[in-house]
């Protein structure tokens, strides 16, 4: 028997992950051993850790551009532009969410390192999912992300709706992870390996010799159930409104940005990178999930009165758009010219992450003053009370609706273009109709903000002035600036993102 030889580890290539997980652990341990730190220090440390990791990821990006993609740690992780792009997307989201969280925790007298440590751990899991080149590693990343998210959803321990959202998310999430795992086991049985590179090689030889593999097909079906749950695609979406409503608002923003980005990265790794030979089998399923998510998400969003629930349904409809991009990528997955589906997907993920955090940031600020109440009424007369905030919210809602000169338009246009290029006309038309229905929902919020008078208190007391905390204000300003800059000058982002379709496996 040959002696065990450990794999070669390229430490510098792993540095974004190491900084994040190390920073998270250090924050938890040191935070537990010391007393309460001064206000804002936890958030500052977390943002610094995430920022450092983002800079390191940008360095990796330029190294990959020079040397080409490769795999790390004996083929466990891929070292390619797709992974680094998603890493940067996730880290930008972490920084923005951390800025919101400080005030929210301070308000409920719950300052502490736990939430920040969990953010960093969840981000580490998300990045591992985006970079996974082995189904075992993908599953470990998924669980690191999910377990942190379950706890985060329940992190407002004294509020019973937060507890409820945490337990609901946990039960359904654990169930879907089990489906996902069964799917991995079946694919392993069908191909003899969990490594994506070896799966592709094994399928290449078996598919060209003819015959479908029943184990792999069943595995794909189960994987789609698990992944569909994680991205909140209809019909696996039932948890979304409850969890989004009950979780603390900054955590909701985190789920909608980091959670979605990581889950879609996993879909790309599993379907587009690992199973291109089965694209004719999984593409119709993705088509159906996309259409259902678009229609059901948009239609149900319109009838809600709670703003967080509205945004939950709107995130389902956004998931539908992202699935349209996957469907487009499915037409030419694995070919030398992969089409623009995945490029449109990563641009959409970055744009959506930033603007959804911006939207939830405004909801955090407004919701706090209305004592946690985030019904549509809480937004009444915001334009007279806080014109700047109202303006920022308008930018975010226009972007979510896909109005030109915002990043949302660039993102939606890219997806529709990718679908039309692949002659998926039906799904492109359905997506556009769904966007119109969803626009009605954003208009409803805007009518509350701009056209309704001052919200009338029962006692006739004047509205207490709406205070915008520094952190939240910074996050809102940065997100609004990004949304507009990308909307007006999208060229640099699109040309950067075009590098992501060369995968390492």
């Amino acid at each position: 028997m040959p002696p065990f030889v450990g794999p070669e580890v390229a430490w510098f290539a792993l540095s974004p992950l190491l900084v994040l997980s190390g920073g998270g652990l250090l924050l938890l341990v040191v935070g537990a051993l010391t007393g309460r730190w001064p206000r804002g220090l936890y958030a500052a440390v977390t943002a610094t850790v995430a920022g450092t990791a983002a800079v390191l990821a940008a360095i990796q990006w330029s190294r990959i551009a020079d040397d080409g993609p490769s795999t790390l740690v004996a083929g466990a992780l891929s070292y390619d532009a797709f992974a680094q792009f998603l890493t940067i997307t996730i880290l930008i989201s972490v920084i923005l969410v951390v800025l919101l969280t400080d005030e929210d925790l301070h308000e409920s007298d719950a300052d502490g390192p736990e939430v920040y440590g969990l953010y960093l751990m969840a981000a580490t899991g998300g990045i591992i999912m985006a970079a996974a080149n082995d189904l075992i590693v993908l599953f470990l990343g998924l669980e690191a992300l999910s377990l942190a998210l379950y706890v985060l959803a329940a992190s407002a321990r004294q509020r019973s709706d937060s507890q409820e959202s945490g337990l609901k998310y946990f039960v359904l999430g654990g169930f879907s992870s089990a489906f996902f795992l069964y799917g991995i086991a079946l694919i392993y049985g069908g191909t003899g390996s969990t490594n994506i590179g070896r799966i592709v090689a094994s399928l290449q030889s078996s598919v060209t010799t003819g015959g479908d593999n029943a184990l792999v097909l069943a595995g794909i079906a189960l994987l789609l159930v698990g992944l569909g749950f994680k991205v909140a695609a209809v019909p696996f979406h039932v948890w979304t409104p409850d969890v989004y409503q009950g979780a603390p608002t900054p955590v909701t923003a985190f789920m909608a940005s980091v959670g979605k980005a990581a889950a879609f990265a996993a879909i790309v790794r599993v379907l587009v990178v690992a199973l291109p030979f089965y694209r004719e089998d999984w593409r119709p399923a993705i088509w159906l999930l996309a259409v259902l998510s678009l229609v059901v998400g948009s239609a149900l969003a319109v009838v809600q009165t709670n703003v967080k629930r509205m945004l939950a349904y709107s995130s389902i409809s956004h998931a539908g758009f992202l699935l349209v991009a996957i469907e487009a990528a499915g037409h030419r997955a694995g070919e030398a010219d992969p089409g623009s589906g995945v490029v449109a997907l990563v641009i959409y993920l970055l744009a959506y992450s930033v603007l959804v955090i911006g939207t939830f940031a405004v909801v955090t600020v407004v919701g706090r003053n209305a004592s946690g109440d985030v019904t549509l009424d809480a937004f009444k007369g915001l334009s007279t009370r806080r014109p700047a905030l109202a303006l920022a919210l308008t930018v975010f809602l226009f972007a979510q609706a896909g109005v030109p000169f915002t990043s949302g338009f660039v993102a939606k246009f890219g997806v529709i273009q990718a679908a039309v290029e692949e002659r998926s006309y039906a799904i492109a038309i359905i997506a556009m109709v769904a966007a119109v229905i969803a626009a009605f929902l954003y208009l409803r919020i805007m009518v509350s903000v701009w056209l309704s008078g001052e919200s009338s208190d029962v006692d006739g007391e004047p509205d207490q002035t709406l205070r915008i905390p520094i952190g939240a204000g910074l996050a809102i300003a940065a997100a609004a600036a990004f949304t507009l800059v990308v909307g007006v000058m999208p060229g640099w982002l699109i040309s950067t993102a075009e590098a992501v379709t060369t995968y390492a496996r």
């Binding site: 089990a178 795992l181 969990t194």
Partner: protein, 99 residues
């Protein structure tokens, strides 16, 4: 082949687990059913490891054991938290939010 019997056993376990999650209203029973599904996956992995003659499956089973333990830890903590607040762990009574 003998290993196929293990796959059938795993499928049966999986079905029992799924039934448990859907039919039970007690949160702890649901948690146990999820564990049953994870166990069926482990059985599958080890059986496939025998069939395909590769070590990956057994390695993966070890990871799944660790993850399952972490999941139970988080899950029971959450159930305890809800029980302290409501004196009940029936999942169908968790319906504060609707719409």
């Amino acid at each position: 082949m003998l290993a196929v019997n293990f796959l059938i056993l795993a499928a049966v376990l999986f079905s029992i687990g799924v039934f448990g999650v859907i039919a039970r209203r007690n949160a702890v029973m649901v948690l146990m059913s999820v564990e049953l599904v994870l166990n069926s996956v482990m059985l599958n992995l080890v059986a496939f490891s025998q069939i395909t003659d590769s070590i990956d499956g057994q390695l993966f089973a070890l990871f799944v054991i660790a993850i399952a333990a972490a999941e139970v830890g988080v899950g029971l903590a959450m159930v305890l938290m809800v029980y302290r607040n409501r004196r009940s762990i029936a999942l169908d009574e968790l319906s504060e939010m609707k719409g």
